[in-house]
Amino acid sequence: MNETSQRLGEVIEASTTGFTAQCYELYDLPPLGSLVRTGDSTNGLFAVVCHAVTEGLEPGRKPIARGKDEPDEESIFQSNPQLSKLLRSEFSTLVVGHRKGGRILQYLPPQPARIHSFVHACTAEESKDFGRTFGFLNILLNAKIETPADELIAATLRIMGASYADPRPFLIGAGKELASLLGEDYGKLKAILERIKP
């Protein structure tokens, strides 16, 4: 791996199908649909960011509006430097595969992620490695999450496609896999294809 992957945060909640991570910096969230990983180049999990939230540290305590007398939004944080410590950004992911002894396997891992595992954004190289097969699309398609599956899949493919000089062959391959998965649901397939068209 030539590029060093950016560390995004730490796992604070984990289950078999996904995990939630907290960002080190407020609003330093990975984009929706981006591929992240835990572990190293031999063992670890791959996940797709499916949801993100920024809220106060204490569950019962809502933030209040503070900018009435400030000229711009930036100034609110300058006047209240504690804010960036009282708020936190978290993102949830769907586990779409794992790496075992260096091999990438596109099905759920035997164990969930560990709490406090570091979460890294995947590099273009890792993303290409992972995108050689399309088994992950079925996991995304069947996930029970708030984000609509077609939006999430389209976002994932757009981001993964961006790691190629010419994304068309990759997108065509993924599109064909989706076409066979969504053989009975042309409406959904069409919606995704509209969103990933290069």
Binding site: S180, G183, Y186
Partner: protein, 536 residues
Amino acid sequence: MNEDVRLGLVVSGSLSEGVAVRLDSKASVEDVVVGRYVTIEGKSRRFLGMITDVKLDASDERMTFAPPDPGDTFSAEILSGTSAYGLLTVTPYLVIGGDSKAVVEGPQPVKTIPSHFSPVGLSSDSDIELVFGKEDDKRFWIGNPLDMETKLCLNLPELVKRSNGIFGKSGTGKTFLTRILLIGMLQKSACVNLVFDMHSEYGWEGSSEKGRKVKALKQLFPTKVSIFSLDEENARRRQVSTDFIVKIGYDEIEPEDMALLRQTLNLTDLAVEACFTLRKHFGRNWIKSTLEIDAGEESEELLKSLTIHESSFQSLKRGLGTITRLSFMQPHVEQRAVDFVLKYLQQGTNVVLEFGRYTDITAYILVANLLTRRIYSQYRDQTEKALAEDTKPPAPLVITIEEAHKFLNPEVASQTIFGTIAREMRKYNCTLLVIDQRPSGIDSEVMSQLGTKITCLLDNEKDIDSVLAGISGKNELKGVLAKLASKQQALVFGHAVPMPVAFSPREYGSRESYKDFTPAETSPREVEKNIDELWR
């Protein structure tokens, strides 16, 4: 199977209706045509079949209501071959087993179908060669399977064991095909041919639709073919060297011959009956005697005593008048044509009987039936004798007739000798080559007895039905037959071929093609050398 031309996978099907093959996304429906051969690699054996239908299908029918935008090549590329795909219907015909025993036995007719997801590809030339064999001393190259380089060879000794038919609309290439087949028989089947050549196009030369002259049998095989002609003047005008001018005596005509002409001469049933009575009364010279009966008391009494009604008699007399006006008809002929035909045939010479200007169907039916009846009875006697004495039977005889529906229509098929030959087939070593453009007019009993049928384009529903009657996978072949090109494409199926095959006949008419047909001749230099050696 040729790996480069993989088409798709077997996804469903049945033995009776053929298997459905889903096309791979790489293969385009536009490149596969009905009539092509495909090889299916089953788990333990290989199947050979023919594409009989091509269809477009979609996994979700909503796609047909809201197809992607025509400019959207991205979606189109993804959807084609996945959600929207091509389906082929393949009728399997032959199976080639995987074990060594099966290799020795060769291809066998199918009794099952390939399993799910067997890969399907276009048949390679070697697959086709395995089925139809290579060109050798028995197999004759008649053409190439559609879109293929392989030679399609027919086993001619096998072919002539049964009566065969060549069908097709007018102008589809029946005559060219027949000429090719006749040449093949001449070279490879050890049979002799008798061709009733209504339009004088098999003997000396014929012409193509473009008006170009093409050589016929006698020009290509001068020593093996003799031309008989009914019309000396016509033959002379065309500068055709004839071997015999056929004349027929009134006394050679039997009442049975008249019965066959009932329709063309517009005779009543009673008039035909009268022929038999008159033949009995007058003996061999019945026609001459009948024509000599004038109106008068004596005649009236004669007719009365024979219980022939006056109107029937007039009808018959009109009919006889038509026949006797044909200039090749003479009261008595010393050299009977039938004896000469038989003599030539027995010497192994093929006989083409040209009708010259007598292209009228009456002359054709009369002469063809008359000659064939005698020849057939001679053949029967000889074969029976050979059987009894355990000697060699006469060489197989193939009689070629055109406009066959006139001889073999349901009304007369039971009476004519051609009906008998078609039905009794090879018992007496005598078979028919039937050429016709309206196969529906031929008696179904006769059609069912034809061993191998070669058919060019037919578009009348009845004709297609009658040609394909009784063959397995009829509906599938119907599609193939109806989609043949209007020229130079044909479908062959039946006894002499292991499976039906659509093919384009080999070229005929160019100088190179003649060279291919005639065996390599010795060069003049070699001839000189041979002569020198002879004198030494």
